[in-house]
Symmetry: C3
Subunit: 189 residues, 3 copies
């Protein structure tokens, strides 16, 4: 009987401990291991309309401050320019590779004294490999690497949350840039 | 004592198993049943300003590419147009029904070769039935049905997450469209 | 042996109960105590470009309806104006205090019959005290106090979710306003 009582006590303590950690799990979870449940790496390619590349352009200036226009990015580090884009997503850094999806949405430049941006867009996939969307939002300080948030997903990425680490992989003047995107999901359903 | 030892072993195994499944719950949860914890179905009605309907219009073009203007949606599938809206939400498909809320935010057209859009908006409720907001974001490929993400909520929809299935229920030229919105929340607080 | 069997039954019942409550935890969690896991209070200051304050302005009109322009907020409660901002964040209500971060993103006015707005922005921190971003989105009915959603975070605010209660602390005509922001995170990692 003593052994039984000992086991009962042990079990209840463990249950309470376990139950407690479950209950507070959402609230304070420092120390939780930060292993992504899903990871995807891809590139996207942005070719900005400049008045002469209507055929190839994948993005266009659609908003500008009073001192700007919609063909040339504004002075003061493009502050106030809003750009809408539909950019091909590729697995490697070659603009001409077969796209595996499209990055669709907008970015805006939001600082006068140096380059920073804010992004709202979705990666849209519709192939045998991936079907669904991942939606991103966040400040882009245009450092060497920077993180934005994954705020939702649909289809294969149903209810996704996480972060994406962005790196400008290449740029050519103000017409072309290529982003390296490392998506790390920490909530997968 | 043999029985006690057996129970102790059993219990510890179960605890470890349970504890393990709890710990990884956020990370890999395939197989989790996808039953919404809350569901809402409604319509919203968008009447786009076209230069002649200032009284009735619920939305207006506020951004356009260099080749467009703010009275007529641009060529190339409206690529680059940003539209701000404040649309009545109704329970049935009748534009003249008493609104139960407002859908407020923006959409933009983001593809040159066919229609696709990107949405950022909130459903705003302030009645005895519902009080609070549900915020949506995501790519809208304008298929027959398509899913966007529910990225947050306040009030009655505090901390909501989920998806919303959109269906264009009707449209009249480029002035009016009606969306059927089926909101399925999978995180409710 | 009777005692052992009793313990086994007890333990299994508890395990099932606990396992059950774990499984449904995400879906229906009414009654969960709403204690933030992190809280931050700050102010941000918006000085809108009006054609004469290029030096001091922290924001600019970049989108407007057909009846508006980008120097003066449009009639009809500014319906359709999109404003891009890069506003200093301070701990107290003094515009000239040392900023602890920047609020960067956009707001748009989305109602013709009175003032309402929709916000998408990030609070960007890069100091010894805080490093990372908190991203916000949602309808702002411009009541005395109103809640918007925290939809994500990076760095110190990795995976953050919650709400932010906004209060217009002061405004001067259509050029300056100051927001009191009370950020309450309910998911912290």
């Amino acid at each position: 009987m003593a052994a039984s009582r000992f086991i009962a006590t042990l079990v209840l303590s463990l249950l309470i401990f376990l139950s407690g950690s479950t209950a507070t799990q959402r609230k304070t979870t420092r120390g939780r291991p930060r292993q992504p449940c899903k990871r995807m790496v891809f590139y996207f390619h942005d070719i900005l309309y400049n008045g002469q590349n209507a055929e190839n352009a994948t993005s266009a200036i659609v908003g500008a401050p009073a001192w700007g226009n919609r063909t040339i990015l504004a002075g003061q580090n493009h502050f106030g320019n809003i750009v809408v884009f539909d950019d091909p997503i590729t697995l490697d850094n070659n603009l001409h590779s077969v796209p595996i999806g499209r990055a669709q949405g907008f970015y805006l430049y939001d600082r006068k004294d140096y380059f920073t941006a804010w992004l709202g867009f979705s990666a849209f996939f519709n192939s045998t490999q991936h079907r669904g969307t991942i939606t991103f939002a966040g400040a882009d300080p245009l450092n060497k690497t920077r993180d934005i948030s994954v705020i939702g997903g649909t289809g294969d990425f149903f209810m996704a949350r996480g972060i994406a680490t962005l790196m400008t992989d290449a740029f050519e003047g103000e017409v072309y840039f290529r982003l390296h995107v490392d998506v790390k999901l920490f909530e997968c359903w």
